[in-house]
Symmetry: D2
Subunit: 139 residues, 4 copies
Amino acid sequence: MDGFSFSTEVRIRFAETDAQGVAHHASLVVWLEVARVAYLAAHAGGYQAIRDSGVEALTTEVCVRYHRPAYFDDALRVWARCSDVRGARFKYEYRVDRAGELVADGYTLHATVDRETYRPIRVPVWLAEAVARAEAPAA
Amino acid sequence: MDGFSFSTEVRIRFAETDAQGVAHHASLVVWLEVARVAYLAAHAGGYQAIRDSGVEALTTEVCVRYHRPAYFDDALRVWARCSDVRGARFKYEYRVDRAGELVADGYTLHATVDRETYRPIRVPVWLAEAVARAEAPAA
Amino acid sequence: MDGFSFSTEVRIRFAETDAQGVAHHASLVVWLEVARVAYLAAHAGGYQAIRDSGVEALTTEVCVRYHRPAYFDDALRVWARCSDVRGARFKYEYRVDRAGELVADGYTLHATVDRETYRPIRVPVWLAEAVARAEAPAA
Amino acid sequence: MDGFSFSTEVRIRFAETDAQGVAHHASLVVWLEVARVAYLAAHAGGYQAIRDSGVEALTTEVCVRYHRPAYFDDALRVWARCSDVRGARFKYEYRVDRAGELVADGYTLHATVDRETYRPIRVPVWLAEAVARAEAPAA
C-alpha cells in the first residue's frame, strides 16, 4: 500500500455485524486499535512495554471515513503508520482494504500521559526512535 | 415478576444487534451486568462504593438461556435478585422480559477479592446486610 | 447547550470501560448512535420507521474529539443536532458533557440508501421536514 | 487438549478489557463464537455456507465458567468440539487456555431455523455429517 509499510489482518466477527447485515461502524474503531497494538508489537516491543514504562497512550481523536460496507467473515487488511510524533502527542493514519479495495481510511490522535498522574508526558525517546526507524523510507 | 422485587429497563441499541437481525447473544451478558449495577445502586450505595471499599467482585460463571429473539429498540425489563451470599461468593438470578413475555433467564456467580492482591475476601458485612434487606420477603 | 435543543443521557456501563480505567474510546461512537436513535424517536417516529419505509441510513464518516476521560457509572449528556440534510446525505453534530463539563464532541455523516438495493436514495421528504422542524430556531 | 481436536487462537484486544484490568467476561462469549466460526470454516465450509443454504443457527444457551483472569494481549487458545447434533439442535463444548493453563470452560446450545421463517428446521444432513467426521475418534 502506497506510503504504508505495516499492516495486519482482521477477520470480521459475527458479533461485530449489525442488523443492517454489515460490520457495525464502531467495530472499525476497534480494528484501528488492533492495528496500533500490532504495530507497536512489531516495532517497539509492544504496547504493554509502553505501559510498563509508566506511560499510557490516550486516544484524543478518531476520524474514520467508510467507503464500502464490510461483511461478516471478510478478511480486512488494516494498514497503519505512525506520523507526527511531537512532544506528548502522536498520530496514526490508516487504510483498511479488502482484496485491494478501499473499505475505510482515517486517523487517530494520541497523547502520552504519566500512568499514575495522567499528566502529559513526552513520548519516550526510545519509542519515538522506534517509530522513526519503522517509518524511515526504504533506502 | 414472581420472586423478583428489583428490575431495570434496557433499550436495545443498534450496535447490539447482529446480521441475523436480532440482539447478539453476548449483549445479554452485558445487560445482566447493567442490572447488577442498578441493583447495587438501589440497595447498596452502588458498585463503585464496593470498589472504593477495596473490594472487586469478579464474575466466575455466567449462564443464560435465550427463549425468544429480541430486536433493535425493544424495551426489555431485566429482573435481578441476589441470592446465596456466602463467604467470598454470591449469586444473581435474572429474568429478562419484553412486555411480560420471557426473553431470557439465567444466573451469574461472583467472587469478592481484595482490590490490590486479587485474593479472595469475604463479602463485606455491610454489603451482605444490604442484600439481605433488599431480598427480605415483604411482610 | 448552545445551539443544541436535543439531548439524551447515557450512563457508562462497566463493560464499556477498559484497562486504563476509563470508558473505551469506541464506546463513545456507540453513544452517538444512541443519541441519533433517541433524536429520531423524539422527532421523526423512530429509526425503525425509517427502516420500515424502505430506507437504511449508513454511517459514512465518524469524527470524535475526546476532551476529558469518562469513567464507569458517569452520567453523560449527549447533545445531538441534525444539520445539512441534502440529497441522500445528512450530518449530525454532537457535544457530550458530564455535569456541564465537555467530555467529547464530534460529528457523523450519513447516506440514505434503498434498503433492498443499497443504492443511494434521497432522504425521504417527511424525514427532512421532521428534522427541519426539530432544528428550527425557537421563535 | 484431551477430547478436543480443534482449536483457534484469540489475542485479547485492549477494547475487550475493563476497568478491573482484565478481559471483560462478556468478551469470552464472543471468543466462543469466533471458535465456532473457525471450526465451521475448518470442517463444514464455513458459517456463511450454512446461512447460504437457508439455515440460521441461533444460540439458545451459553454457560461459561471463568477459572483465571485473562489480560490484555494474552494469547488464548480456544478449544471447541461439536457434540449432540440431534434434530434441530446441537451443542458445542469449550476449553480456553493460556499456555496450557485453564482460563475458562463452558458450552453453548444452538437451534437451527429456516432463515426466512425462523421456524425450527433439522440440522442439514451435510452439516451433521461434516461434524461427525470432524469429531470421529482418530483410528
